[in-house]
Symmetry: C2
Subunit: 343 residues, 2 copies
């Protein structure tokens, strides 16, 4: 048995060595092109990738006149459309709609009440015709009236089972491989990475650790009021049906100050909702980096900007031009889109 195991281990090792040799041989041209330790293999060798690497080297290399102490290497990332996809609807809205359907049997009154009546008939457009008030009502019934623990469990169940309507993939798989590499690259260079998103703070925290390697305390997002109560002698936090903070547009620099307490030296977004966050990062003096993900790949992902209601990118795209911010041309700058490939 002992001898057999040893042989098995040895032969497995031999096979692995052989495989490794083959892989090394095959990847030699790539290695020669990008360096043996390219931290951003899913990025094409364009000006965008160069801009990222140049910035990181300027602020981290020993002896650089622009060296930033590790403690101040704060990088903030929008989530929807920047770290994961946001089409055909924001994934958190998809979660809310699924919850409305799940809760409907307990709410017979919804059959005659908008926006629920339209929603339950499968008419999303009709449901959202009520504008922000309709969305607020949908968010309220699905994001409050339970404890933070209960909400976490509901989101966990959803994120591990619900499938994207077009790709059929888990929503947590619809993340951008180049951005995952960028997060790891920055952390490998002493950066602390934060999410600063209009999405719900308690929603994102459920999966951000596993998916992005970002712990709950480094998530900034929109939130509802919380109420501390004792239930049967046990402390709970109830999620209340009242907005606490809207972490969007001018709210993003405010959320950053509240949670992080200093200006990021790098910020990453994709829409007008990120404009003020990028301005705030750029405004801090010294070498700063601001980047917009521009959705230009209708085939592998989606193509949208100035005319889109989701991920509306108009003023921020103009600002990128005048301010000299880096703009990712998804189609040309990204070799890979999703870990599983593309849409």
């Amino acid at each position: 048995m002992m001898v057999g195991d040893t042989i098995l281990v040895m032969s497995r090792r031999a096979t692995l060595s052989g495989l490794l040799a083959i892989l090394l041989f095959l990847s030699l041209p790539a290695l020669a092109q990008t360096g043996a330790t390219d931290p951003l293999p899913s990025w094409n060798d364009t000006a965008t990738k160069k801009a990222i690497v140049t910035f990181v080297e300027r602020v981290t290399k020993d002896g650089s006149p622009d060296l930033v102490p590790s403690a101040d290497r704060i990088a903030t990332f929008d989530n929807d459309g920047t770290l994961w996809a946001e089409q055909p609807i924001y994934f958190q809205l998809a979660f809310a709609l699924d919850r409305v359907k799940a809760l409907a049997p307990m709410h017979p009154e919804w059959q005659d009440k908008e926006p629920f009546a339209s929603l339950l008939k499968g008419d999303l457009k009709g449901a959202l015709a009520g504008g922000e008030a309709a969305i607020f009502e949908i968010v309220t019934v699905t994001h409050s009236g339970m404890t933070t623990d209960e909400f976490e469990k509901i989101v966990r169940d959803w994120i591990t089972t619900a499938k994207h309507p077009i790709t059929g993939r888990l929503y947590s798989e619809m993340v951008y491989e180049p951005m995952l590499e960028l997060l790891a690259y920055l952390r490998g260079n002493g950066f602390k990475t934060f999410i600063v998103s209009g999405g719900g703070i308690d929603f994102m925290r459920v999966f951000a650790g596993q998916v992005y390697g970002i712990p709950p305390e480094q998530i900034v997002g929109s939130s509802g009021k919380l109420n501390f109560e004792l239930r049967d002698g046990r402390p709970i936090l109830m999620k209340m049906p009242e907005l606490n903070f809207n972490d969007d547009k001018t709210g993003k620099p405010v959320g950053i100050q509240m949670h992080i307490g200093r200006q990021p030296i790098a910020a990453f977004g994709n829409s007008d909702g990120d404009l003020q966050m990028l301005e705030w990062a750029e405004g801090g003096g010294g070498v700063r980096f601001a980047l917009l993900v521009h959705h230009t790949d209708a085939e592998r992902e989606w193509a949208y900007d100035r005319k889109s209601s989701i991920g509306h990118l108009d003023k921020a795209l103009d600002a990128a031009q005048t301010e000299g911010w880096t703009v990712v041309d998804m189609k040309n700058d990204w070799k890979t889109i999703f870990p599983f490939g593309s849409k």
Copy 2:
């Protein structure tokens, strides 16, 4: 020159070796008593110290059935009366009073307007007779109407120059040496340490890094509203005269959820304002630790609890008894109070 320097270095080395030998010899009994690497040398060897060490070993030692993954080792600390002193008045109130005096020449109307008129005559009691409304007014004029950057500079100037009225020490020196050791001990064991205080978040952030080794993003506190604006094209955050969040009592678990997103496994406080934070930490299930600093040393620090308006400790002291929380008896548990000795 070269030879001379070498001799100097050598003789200095010889002297250092001799000193080291003497110091080692002198400290042998102490080493034998507490172990060569006692991480809490300012704590007497009482049940309190044992409770701390036992807890930390239970949740961190490999193979312990109560092992907590490093990512979940969250410890939250109140500030006033827990990490630094709070007598004869909260230090942030001392800051505000100093600011009122500094701003008075620009506000002639304050001469006839309470609470400022009394304050400027040196009558603190009269000024605070207006209760919470008076304090709110003092806090408002001293903590808003400027940018976050401007406020940071004002606090930095104050904290590096203002002296405590009784000890004559800088306020930043009035920190508890045993608690500094405890912070370092927890961090050395993979804990992430947070401040969760009723004090102002932007106030504490100015010195918490240097004094406690806690970065701005790990400070939770009370705050005013912020407004993002462009001033001459440059982005700023204005501190507005409106309360955003009161991080006290039931606000502490809420602040913890907002900023940290999970229940601490250890919480440290000293007053009824910390009761709910300790309940929240204890309520998470598994091995948890809750500690109250009881101010029992009138000679070396101050002695106060149930009847004090500052650091009022009444319900939480009862809860400690019924819940079995650890209570620091400052007089008997702490060998040293402040880094410079005692009051």
